[in-house]
Symmetry: C2
Subunit: 420 residues, 2 copies
């Protein structure tokens, strides 16, 4: 059996280790006895549809090695979800056509829930249409909302960055509180699942450490109880550090960030959840606040990635290649935990249909009974994930992050009107 | 001549290396032949006025060594400016009384412009009242707005953190731009001087790197020209990363953050400069934006401190003790640059009156002619400051930051009604 080619593509919001996954896929593919060339889709599935395939053989070995440390999506990511097989039939067919034209028999898609929906549909479509294309999902999302897998590569690094940010900013707050700021609010990403906000719980080792309160999308905000908690903390230790998930909701289910508060003129103030929480605290308690919104920084902070996360990311990439070689199709690699401390894990896989369109929110046993912090069970879950450092090389005081040339393979098919 | 005691105190917004300054002062004091005990003011000058002096001999050697790596103000900082000698005569007298009661003849005040005003006034008051108290200033401020000194300890570390943040977030933006976010806005601290925003210029090594535009308080914002620049950048490379200083001003001199924009209902939207700039871009160009506000994180990120900054901070602390031993009074230690590359510097001092209440804004030759970026001369100035890393120890995936016990020396004087 001759070697067949492979395509790797990135999808959805990027992480600080998505390129480490790519590295795993690419190195395993290059070392395998069943993959010939490995290409990458320029901007995810767009690149496959548009036949814009990056020729990885044109990249320097240095740049390929550099993928292990490069934040962002080295090949470009996408926000494009394919609809059902009937509605987007032409797109699915085009993908098969492009794969066929380039002798591609393996497709590795690195993404989250939506991307696994694509993995599932594309593998089904391929089977139905007599194609031998193997489609494999490689997990990725800072949101950590993929079911079955112990964690999603990318989450632990974002978590570690937020933990460190909370530890450091809390020290600042602690030193300023007597004359100045009393409350600090850190806004973490997470629209529907609060894993990233929750992770900051690890920063609190004693009562002086923040966060003193964590607001999750999983717990509807009771403003009066929240204010009582803030006041109690400030009265006791002089200050209060709060982590708020961007997806925190009002009792009526609307997003806090949408509801806003009124300014002095009665006008609605819009802004993120962090700003809204700050405004509420000023209004209800008259306390001086400060707030940080790390935004993209939390998911691209490769300088503060977790070593465990980096290892899992590369391993997931390598495993996807191994399983594809065994003929697996329409599956996503999963991380299975067998022990908390010391952390032990291995890789398995599951049908991508078990992952697609499902969001794993934080289970009840991880949330403290009052809804304002995390339990010991959560700490046991989260602690091992942020362990170990993986600093990039520094030059001139700055991390060395390579950038790829992204030279494209010559197109073999006529252009395809893909709209978007 | 017998040994006399010393007090060290922290003032104003803290930095990631203010405790490294403290370390320099304390270690030099402990090693000197003219200082007996060294105390620290709890919450800056408040602790001196209230006779709340931290007994450093009660701290473990480990905690003292840990000062080199601890973010925030280990002894508590303050926002308290003494008025003129006549108006606050009772306060100045009280400070002398407390010093006398504890046999203190050396006072080291670690702060910025306002703190140097206190250094100047207190040293003048002491001289006028026959006290032999020596008052020395140790420079500190992330704002980098102190004149004469080449840099202010704290600035370079905040700068390095922002440079790394911009490098990483730009990679994220670059990978998402085709289908999603086109503009990323990073808001840096700096109300009147834009040094921190300016520093991010170092992140841009080629045209794909952000920041593509830097908005400084030193340049009044021409909205139309700014939008043209954003559009030009997005048209050319697909995205645009912007650094905005929190103190950016409108043509009429008002802060951008105050002016706000109107939402769809015609209501004023309030928020920081970063949010305002994002809103403007959405309104004028209809582009999707993301924005980060590091806030306290930028000035407490000890995990990303500059080695040069750490070295200068400790050296400034040690020098202050050395100069006080030589009888200097009412001076602040200054860093004098003698060469850009490789960076060479040494320490001198200047009358605190030359520093007090003066803000060093960015000079014209450092700002590109169009007002939207920095010059090569600025890069030559800023580059050496961010060089070298100084990672803290990590344990359980988190940086090890000690906390002091802050046991107070027994008060010898009646309580003092200080109001504030």
């Amino acid at each position: 059996m001759g070697k067949k080619n492979a395509i790797y593509a990135q999808s959805g919001g990027v992480t600080s280790v998505i390129n480490t996954c790519a590295y795993g896929v690419i190195k395993a593919a290059m070392a395998s006895d069943f993959i010939g060339h490995i290409y990458a889709g320029l901007n995810g599935i767009n690149g496959v549809i548009e036949e814009k395939l990056i020729d990885l053989s044109k990249e320097s070995p240095e740049a390929i090695e550099g993928l292990k440390f490069m934040p962002g999506g080295a090949f470009g990511s996408c926000r494009r979800k394919l609809r059902d097989l009937e509605k987007d039939k032409a797109l699915f067919q085009r993908i098969l056509d492009v794969c066929k034209a380039h002798d591609v028999e393996y497709f590795f898609y690195n993404g989250g829930n939506d991307s696994m929906d694509t993995v599932k549909k594309l593998s089904d479509f391929a089977k139905q249409n007599g194609s031998s294309l193997k489609v494999m999902g490689v997990p990725k999302t800072v949101d950590n909302d993929l079911p079955i897998t112990d964690a999603s590569p990318g989450f632990a690094s974002a978590a570690k960055y937020l933990v460190v940010s909370m530890i450091e900013a809390s020290r600042d707050l602690e030193s300023m509180a007597r004359d100045s700021t009393k409350v600090f609010v850190l806004e973490a990403m997470g629209r529907h699942a609060g894993w990233m906000a929750a992770a900051t719980a690890l920063a609190q080792r004693d009562e002086k450490d923040g966060p003193h309160i964590i607001l999750l999308p999983e717990v509807k905000l009771d403003r009066a109880k929240f204010m009582a908690k803030v006041k109690e903390t400030v009265d006791k230790i002089g200050y209060c550090a709060v982590t708020v998930s961007e997806g925190v909701k009002n009792p009526d289910g609307t997003f806090l960030a949408e509801s806003g508060t009124k300014d002095a003129f009665g006008h609605a103030q819009l802004g993120g959840a962090g700003q809204t929480v700050q405004d509420m605290i000023k209004q209800d308690l008259g306390l001086k606040t400060h707030g940080a919104i790390p935004d993209y920084c939390q998911r691209s902070a490769r300088h503060m990635s977790s070593k465990v996360d980096v290892e899992q990311a590369e391993a997931c990439g390598r495993k996807a290649v191994e399983l594809a070689g065994q003929g697996l199709n329409g599956h996503m690699v999963t991380i299975i935990r067998t022990q908390d401390a010391p952390y032990k894990w291995h890789l398995e896989s599951t049908d991508a249909g078990n992952i697609a369109n499902t969001e794993k929110v934080i289970p009840k046993e991880f949330i403290r009974e009052d809804g304002f912090h995390m339990t010991e069970a959560f700490r046991k879950y989260c602690q091992p994930l942020i362990e170990g450092e993986s600093f990039p090389e520094f030059k001139n005081g700055m991390p060395v992050y390579h950038r790829l040339k992204k030279e494209l393979v010559k197109a073999k098919l006529p252009p395809f009107e893909s709209k978007k």
